[in-house]
């Protein structure tokens, strides 16, 4: 090995150790900068993906196209477009009204955020939202969505930029929530799957009593123990329960479809 290569290798090692020794604050500053730089691209890629998806939805077989042509002959194209637009607006209005209603009635201080990117690291389930420290979002803030007028947990904030934040989803193994089964005294730890392998994996509720009276269909909610997540957030529904030698473990299906999330709410404390 030549002298220059050895010197470079030593310098590389020193730089590596220096970076490994970065304080959490330094890492936060670096990542905040990266989020600010990459935010426009993340947003654009999500928009592009959506347009491609919508384009795919229009793909029809020749038979369907002929049917569609017949319909189009009977209807004015302009009127159809207007109708569709009105329908979309009505749907959007309904969803926003439901969200607004939820925000107004919720005892929690909520910050509304839009999902701008879903492409996270290889081995973690994350998504990026368009609100950050400017909206008083902090690390570990719980993220929720309304499901049937109840607050369902999506995950927690793991990284905050000025105008964007990274949310680690409940479907990831590292997002662990103290949970209890509604209508019982059973408490355990709910966590997702290792390796970000599925968009909607089965969650595991561990460390519950092996004699627990749990049945499929029972609702699982957050217990509020630990201080990160407020109590009574909807987590999912029991799919099956298995008894081990020491404790029991239940498979839970989340009430949230993580792959289809568009708008979420970040909890920034309780209302005064």
């Amino acid at each position: 090995m030549s002298r220059i290569n050895i010197i470079t290798l030593v310098v590389f090692g020193v730089v590596l150790v220096w970076i490994f020794l970065f304080s959490p604050d330094t890492i936060r500053v670096v990542q905040r900068g990266a989020l600010a730089v990459f935010a426009p691209m993340m947003s654009s890629s999500e928009k592009l993906e959506r347009s491609i998806d919508e384009f795919g939805d229009d793909g029809r077989s020749p038979r369907e196209l002929r049917k569609r042509l017949d319909v189009l002959e009977r209807e004015s194209a302009l009127l159809r477009l207007e109708n569709e637009r009105l329908h979309d607006l009505t749907e959007e209005n309904r969803a926003l009204r439901q969200a607004l209603n939820y925000v107004e009635n919720s005892p929690l201080n909520l910050v509304s955020a839009r999902v701008i990117n879903r492409k996270g690291p290889t081995w973690y389930h994350t998504l990026i939202i368009d609100q950050g420290s400017r909206s008083n979002i902090t690390v570990d803030s719980p993220v929720i969505v309304p499901v049937d007028n109840e607050a369902a947990l999506v995950g927690k904030v793991s990284q905050v930029g000025e105008d964007s934040s990274v949310v680690i989803l409940l479907s990831d193994e590292v997002c662990q929530v103290s949970a209890r089964v509604m209508g019982t005294t059973e408490q355990g730890i709910l966590s997702g799957q290792r390796g970000a392998l599925n968009a909607a994996p089965e969650l595991k509720l561990r460390y519950i009593s092996k004699d627990a009276a749990i049945a499929p269909g029972d609702t699982v909610i957050s217990s509020g123990v630990g201080g990160v997540f407020p109590g009574n957030l909807l987590l999912g529904e029991i799919k099956e329960f298995s008894r081990g030698a020491i404790d029991g473990e239940a498979v839970v299906i989340s009430k949230v479809n993580f792959a289809l999330l568009k708008n979420v709410f970040v909890v920034s404390g309780l209302k005064e």
Binding site: M1, S2, I4, N5, T8, L9, V11, F12, V15, L16, I19, F20, F22, P24, I27, R28, V30, Q31, G33, A34, L35, F38, M41, M42, S44, S45, L48, E49, N117, R118, K119, G120, P121, T122, W123, Y124, T126, V139, S158, Q159, V166, I168, E173, V174, R194, G195, A196, L197, N198, A199, A259
Partner: protein, 190 residues
């Protein structure tokens, strides 16, 4: 020198394009690791010191964008990608003589293998941190598909890089690899 600058710009560009690369749910979240592929292809052509500099540049931006801070630090330390890229770059530099003689199949295979090794290192570190190795078939499938996607794109990246090298008058040097070659590797053809 111009070639080196172009390589660094290519890496920066690959970060932008990476944002637009879809994640395939049917392959358990596998995707084309464009940044890693461009880095590894570039590593085949670069001298050792420049490859290490490129590893620092690429790894730092990668961790700035994708590092997940859990608690005070994270399971995978900030800077780990620099180490992994440096290590993978070191291995892939071994096929420089083949590439300089116009053999592409081994570098392409090596790109896929190195990405597989890199992902395995990350997964094993996560598993070690969480106290238990779980090797589901889905994990292997995800790793395999990710490296296959990279192997599919690697010939194009290598072709682009070799074209750029030709246009800028850059020649792959082989110093430090074997004593039987001069630093251009011309002894074989002599």
């Amino acid at each position: 020198m111009i070639y080196y600058i172009i390589v660094f710009i290519s890496i920066a560009l690959s970060f932008v394009l990476q944002e637009f690369v879809p994640v395939f749910e049917w392959a358990y979240g596998a995707r084309l690791m464009l940044v890693f592929t461009v880095f590894l292809c570039a590593a085949v052509t670069l001298p050792f010191p420049v490859m290490l500099l490129l590893a620092v540049f690429t790894g730092f931006i990668w961790d700035a964008r994708y590092h997940v801070p859990l608690g005070d630090a994270g399971e995978l330390s900030f800077g780990l990608t620099i180490f992994i890229l440096g290590l993978l770059g070191l291995f892939i530099q071994g096929v420089r003589p083949l590439f300089s003689r116009g053999r592409w199949e081994v570098p392409v295979f090596m790109v896929g293998t190195m990405i597989m090794v890199g992902m395995l290192i990350q997964f094993l570190l996560i598993s070690f941190h969480r106290g238990g190795v779980e090797f589901l078939p889905e994990v292997w499938f995800k790793i395999l598909m990710t490296s296959l996607f990279s192997m599919l794109i690697a010939p194009i990246v290598l072709l682009l890089l070799s074209r750029l090298a030709k246009k800028t008058g850059f020649r792959i040097r082989l110093e430090g690899i074997t004593r039987n070659l001069d630093h251009y590797g011309d002894a074989f053809s002599a």
